[in-house]
């Protein structure tokens, strides 16, 4: 499978806040504070990713809208638990 060409530095959009109300947007940009709540819409983002068998590509959380998603944060590659 061909891998996308990829440089050393590749910006991604990070949190995508255009859908939020302006007061929320201001609060989020001022300090990176927790914005998510159960029962509320997930906050979209775009980041770079590695996909086994595919290679490097940017991914947006909203690419998976319409499906059940489990988003798993973990402390780091090569950790133990």
């Amino acid at each position: 499978m061909t891998e996308l060409k990829d440089g050393c530095v590749k910006p991604a959009r990070g949190p995508i806040v255009s859908t939020l109300a302006s007061s929320e947007r201001t609060a989020m940009l001022k300090e990176d504070k927790m914005m998510v709540r159960v029962g509320q819409l997930a906050i979209d983002f775009e980041v770079n990713a590695y996909i086994n068998g595919v290679g490097f590509q940017p991914i947006k959380l909203s690419d998976y809208k319409g499906k059940w998603i489990v988003l798993c944060f973990y402390p780091g590659d090569f950790t133990f638990v």
């Binding site: 998510v36 983002f45 990713a49 590695y50 086994n52 991914i59 319409g66 489990v70």
Partner: protein
Amino acid sequence: MAAVAVRYEEFKALGVEVLAISTDSRFSHKIWQEQELSKMVSGGLPFPMLSDAGGRIGAIYGVYDEAAGVDIRGRFIIDPDFVIRAMEVLTPEVGRNPDELIRQIKAFQHVRATGEVTPSGWQPGQVTLTPGPELVGHVCEVWKP
């Protein structure tokens, strides 16, 4: 993450997309996959590994540890309408329980399909509750812990 990966077939059967995310670069993800994960899990981690550069995503999801500069273990169940249904955040010493994650997904899917609600510890096939005025004061007749 490997513990979740070995249950991947179950997630797939439930129509769930798993996304792993840490502050590591995509390059680090690739080498971890090739050097280690592929030896723990046949075929390696089957889901995308996302790079949360600078912890910007972790910060808004409430899992970014500024002192350590990493995202601590946190998982979020998001439904097809993009609504967050559940979250679990742990300090790093204790690993996750994929059984409980799968149970919660099944329960949320059941609720979404039927409009019923599931009592504590519910497993597929067990009794559910139908909320309404008739149930008030009568839960004990249909369900006991």
